[in-house]
């Protein structure tokens, strides 16, 4: 496996506040990586820094060997990194179908994901296609947000807090789509506060605290205690 996304020494600020302190992370082709951590650990800033929305002050982000650090957000999307933003951020003026179509705004040529394939993945989106995007339930809105990101046929899909504010049964339904997304050749980074969900889908897990990665490993290698300590910042040493 070769590294698709390589993040080295990434430092970013959120206003005057330094939110990331030299984060290193790699995502291999076909891999799913989970980033877990409490509120304010810097997970969302990391996602925003990768996609060009947050300002990077040092370090680099490379996609398939090419530097994309500090590229404008639309360029990064065009290069193949799409994001499902925290809070879903659907466009209220657009219908469900238009929200999906706008995901393909910058797309050139064909790819696996089409409107029909998204509507097959999440059939409710076909049924509700003419509703305003924001009239849907939280879970359905999350499906629109995932579908919208997939419409650009990304190499890398970043999912920020998919399960936030959703019922467990809905979270399960959303994560049930992951095998198909992986099969389409997309590599995934999920940011999660739901640790058990993260351990279930990921090939590799990183735990963040106060802007740093404090623990990394395969889900099978990491003990519950170690994750618990890294998550809450307890130090037994």
């Amino acid at each position: 496996m070769s590294a698709l996304l390589t993040i080295a020494g990434l430092t970013a600020h959120y206003g005057d506040f330094q939110a990331l302190f030299g984060v290193d992370l790699t995502l291999d082709q076909g891999q799913t990586v989970a980033i877990i951590g409490a509120n304010g650990a810097g997970k969302t800033t990391l996602m925003r820094a990768i996609t060009g929305v947050a300002k990077v002050t040092a370090g680099s982000v490379r996609l398939a060997g090419e530097e994309i650090t500090r590229s404008p957000a639309p360029d990064i999307l065009t290069r193949g990194v799409a994001m499902v933003p925290e809070g879903r951020k659907l466009f209220p003026s657009l219908t469900v179908e238009e929200n999906l179509l706008i995901g393909a705004h910058a797309r050139r040529g064909n790819g696996f994901w089409t409107l029909e394939r998204i509507q097959t993945l999440f059939p409710i989106l076909k049924e509700r296609r003419l509703s305003p995007g924001t009239a849907l339930s939280g879970g359905q809105q999350q499906m629109v947000a995932i579908g919208r990101a997939l419409m650009s046929n990304p190499q890398v899909l970043l999912c920020d807090e998919l399960s936030l504010g959703l019922a467990p049964v809905v979270i399960k339904e959303i994560y049930a789509a992951f095998p198909q997304i992986k099969d389409s050749g997309t590599s995934i980074i999920v940011v999660e506060q739901d640790i058990s969900q993260a351990l279930r889908v990921a090939d590799h897990v990183h735990c963040m605290m106060e802007g740093r990665i404090t623990l990394s490993g395969r889900p099978s290698e990491l003990s519950r205690d170690a994750i618990h300590d890294a998550y809450f910042g307890v130090n037994h040493a």
Binding site: T51, G52, V53, P72, A73, P74, L77, T78, A82, M83, P85, K89, F91, P92, S93, L94, E98, L101, I102, G103, H105, A106, R107, T134, R148, S152
Partner: protein, 287 residues
């Protein structure tokens, strides 16, 4: 009989105000920018049509086909090089800059074309009329109103039926998330201002053939346009047409009572609508 005539004339006049307002409404709807130079840009377009018509000898209706793309380019450059730099969370800088632009355009026109009144001459069509039995309508006012309806219909189609329109709406909703979709808000804004200037050129054609114009009359056109947009409800294009008609009707009714009351009646109608419906007649649900 007299009343029907007054109402018909007022409604047709509303078409002209809707044309003044459509570009303003479009730009405000997409980038929340109140362009205080909009009236002066209409007058600039009128002088451009006049110049093209004078130099080439073309009829103003043909000259507008040359002026409109030039104004599109001007709007694009204006947005790219000036207005995009001042758009942000603070609403004051764009107001100050467009106010300054208004002053620059007025003085530029004054030194180039002098303060003499000008008019676009369209020939015999200006005096032509159609007799509908109950009421006789001028061909030019009917054309103006028809153009206003067509322009608003086309802008709506653009907004709700095309990929560009989707990008307009998405950027208006949330410019940061729009960038995550690969949309470049600054280009979207440049496109919107370009289109607004094409509409302003159409407005200028009817303004210039209907009455005299000189470099100083832009701000008054802005006021009518602004009132039409507010009456209609911010961000609603059909509302803008309705707003134009409300002002046109009020002016016609006021003028029929006493000619001095024409302008004042329009402004009073504006205040009355705001008192009864502070968000306008057709406010956008999610504003």
């Amino acid at each position: 009989m007299m009343l029907i005539d007054t109402l018909a004339q007022g409604m047709l006049l509303g078409g002209l105000y809707a044309l003044f307002a459509a570009g303003l409404s479009l730009v405000f709807g997409i980038m929340r920018l109140v362009n205080l130079a909009h009236g002066d840009l209409i007058i600039l377009a009128a002088y451009l049509i006049l110049t093209v018509a004078t130099v080439t000898g073309l009829h103003p209706f043909v000259a507008v086909l040359i002026a409109a793309p030039l104004m599109f380019g001007f709007g694009w450059l204006l947005q790219t090089h000036l207005l995009n730099r001042v758009l942000g969370n603070d609403i004051l800088p764009p107001l100050l800059v467009t106010f300054g632009l208004s002053v620059v355009i007025q003085n530029g026109l004054l030194s180039t074309f002098t303060a003499d009144s000008q008019k676009l001459t369209a020939g015999s069509i200006e005096a032509a009329s159609v007799d509908l039995g109950v009421v006789t309508l001028g061909v030019m006012p009917v054309l103006t109103f028809g153009s206003a309806v067509l322009v608003i219909f086309l802008l709506n189609q653009l907004f709700y039926r095309t990929a560009l329109g989707r990008a307009f709406r998405a950027t208006s909703d949330d410019a940061v998330t729009a960038q995550l979709m690969g949309i470049r808000p600054q280009r979207v804004f440049a496109m919107a201002t370009g289109i607004a200037m094409v509409v302003a050129t159409i407005a200028a054609l009817y303004l210039g053939t209907r009455a005299n114009f000189d470099p100083s009359i832009g701000p008054a056109r802005l006021l009518y346009a602004f009132e039409a947009v507010i009456i209609g409800g911010l961000g609603s294009l059909w509302g803008t047409l309705a707003g134009g008609i409300v002002i046109g009707l009020a002016q016609a009714i006021g003028a029929s009572i006493n000619p001095e009351w024409q302008i004042l009646s329009g402004h009073i109608a504006f205040v009355l609508v705001l008192l009864i419906r502070p968000r306008g007649l057709f406010p956008r649900a999610n504003d």
